[in-house]
């Protein structure tokens, strides 16, 4: 009897000791894995920071097109008193729609010397061209066209030949061919092939974002953004009214 009791006691003690050991082990594991988790997240954050800093130093070496206005982010057309800023991505279908719809009215306002239009090519839709970064390449090509004095012509052919979202976009050869069709030559071709203004496009897009804009097209008349109801695309009527109001 007493022997059996002692045996039971011993097993009980052993079990308690083992339980305590297991609990101790759990606690140690919890502490060290928690430290590990925090460390991994800190490192991941630092990697993100590092990648950002690296990209920033890349875009600070961007060569700004000589003819660009507005902190080197835009190309001006016309010489009227009202300033119209149009931020567009050559991949953006609604920008194309806006050009088709309101482009003729804008051209008329330019001819009548009522507005100065500052076109800001931006590249926010790079994700929509299967990794070929069509938005950046086309914006860079537009800058090259501007340097050679053919911005508005090239702007027009880019929209006329707009690739579909989700396609590869137009390749550089096609971008150069379109340039030739509006009278651009070898220096343009070299700039497109050499991606001379691609990092400028990235930088111009950052300026666009830092001004608090995030969608394209963004249309600004004398510093005031013009939209239709609920942030939709403004009609030509809404746009021209904004210009008339700004002209005073």
């Amino acid at each position: 009897m007493s022997k059996g009791n002692r045996g039971r006691d011993r097993t009980a003690v052993k079990r308690i000791v083992e339980q305590q050991k297991a609990a101790e082990r759990r606690r140690r594991v919890t502490i060290w894995t928690s430290v590990g988790v925090v460390a991994v997240l800190l490192i991941a954050g630092l990697i993100g920071w590092g990648v950002l800093a690296n990209q920033d130093s890349d875009s600070s070496q961007a060569s700004t097109p000589s003819v660009a206005v507005d902190d080197g982010t835009a190309f001006a057309v016309g010489s009227g008193p009202v300033t119209v800023d149009i931020y567009e991505d050559f991949m953006c279908p609604i920008c194309h729609e806006f050009e088709n719809q309101t482009g003729p009215a804008i051209a008329q306002l330019v001819t009548d010397k009522k507005v100065t239009v500052r076109y800001h090519p931006v590249s926010i839709l790079d994700r929509a061209s299967n990794g070929t970064k069509y938005s950046t390449r086309s914006a860079g090509a537009a800058a090259a066209a501007a340097v050679d004095g053919k911005f508005i012509e090239y702007h027009q052919v880019l929209f006329d030949n707009q690739p579909e979202e989700g396609s590869d976009g137009l390749d550089n050869a096609k971008l150069i061919e379109l340039g030739k069709s509006v009278g651009l030559g070898d220096s343009f071709a070299q700039a497109v092939d050499g991606k001379t203004y691609d990092s400028w496009a990235t930088k111009a897009t950052e300026t666009f974002a830092s001004r608090g804009y995030s969608g394209t097209p963004t249309i600004v008349v004398n510093g005031k953004q013009v939209t239709g109801p609920n942030g939709t695309l403004p009609t030509t009527e809404v746009f021209t009214q904004a210009v008339t109001a700004a002209a005073g």
């Binding site: 988790v37 991994v40 942030g231």
Partner: protein, 163 residues
């Protein structure tokens, strides 16, 4: 105790938690993976909430996808599951607060949850209600893990000597 009353449910919990853990891991891996390839776009998505300066948004936009991927990997291997789930829950609450804030200010933006986000243009309308509902669903997964952090196929289980 639950154990006595519902032994079947008690046995099922580690499996339920395992599903929650892997589901939440997938959510963060996909969300981070979609953003990490274009950090400038991620910065614009954060900036579209109009809650901070662009320079701050840029840093958040760059750091966030890496954090999401790291958190997804931590959940995938199941290390310090309860802490990982708690961090996931905090992150989700911040996301939900951001969406509610954008909604209440009448901003028309894509939440940028599983994309690079940004402002919506031309005909697309924001679906804040659905976005919030989905994030609350993810929060529930994190809740399950906070409550019952023991899961199968986890590093925690291996280190603690569970079967």
């Amino acid at each position: 105790m639950d154990l006595k009353q519902q032994p079947r449910l008690a046995a099922a919990w580690p499996w339920i938690s395992t599903l929650a853990r892997l589901g939440l891991a997938a959510v963060f891996l996909i969300a981070g993976g979609l953003k990490v390839t274009d950090l400038a776009a991620s910065a614009r998505a954060v900036n579209a909430y109009d809650l901070m300066s662009y320079d701050t948004a840029k840093v958040i936009g760059a750091v966030q996808p890496f954090l999401e991927i790291a958190l997804g990997l931590l959940l995938l291997i199941g290390i310090a599951t309860r802490l990982s789930a708690a961090i996931a829950a905090v992150v989700l609450v911040i996301f939900i607060a951001g969406i509610i804030s954008a909604w209440s200010r009448g901003l028309q933006i894509d939440c940028g949850c599983f994309s690079k986000g940004g402002e919506l243009t031309g005909g697309r309308t924001a679906q804040y209600g659905l976005d919030i509902l989905r994030d609350v669903g993810f929060l529930a997964l994190a809740g399950i893990l906070l409550w019952k952090p023991r899961t199968r196929f986890s590093l925690d289980g291996l280190l603690m000597g569970d079967r």
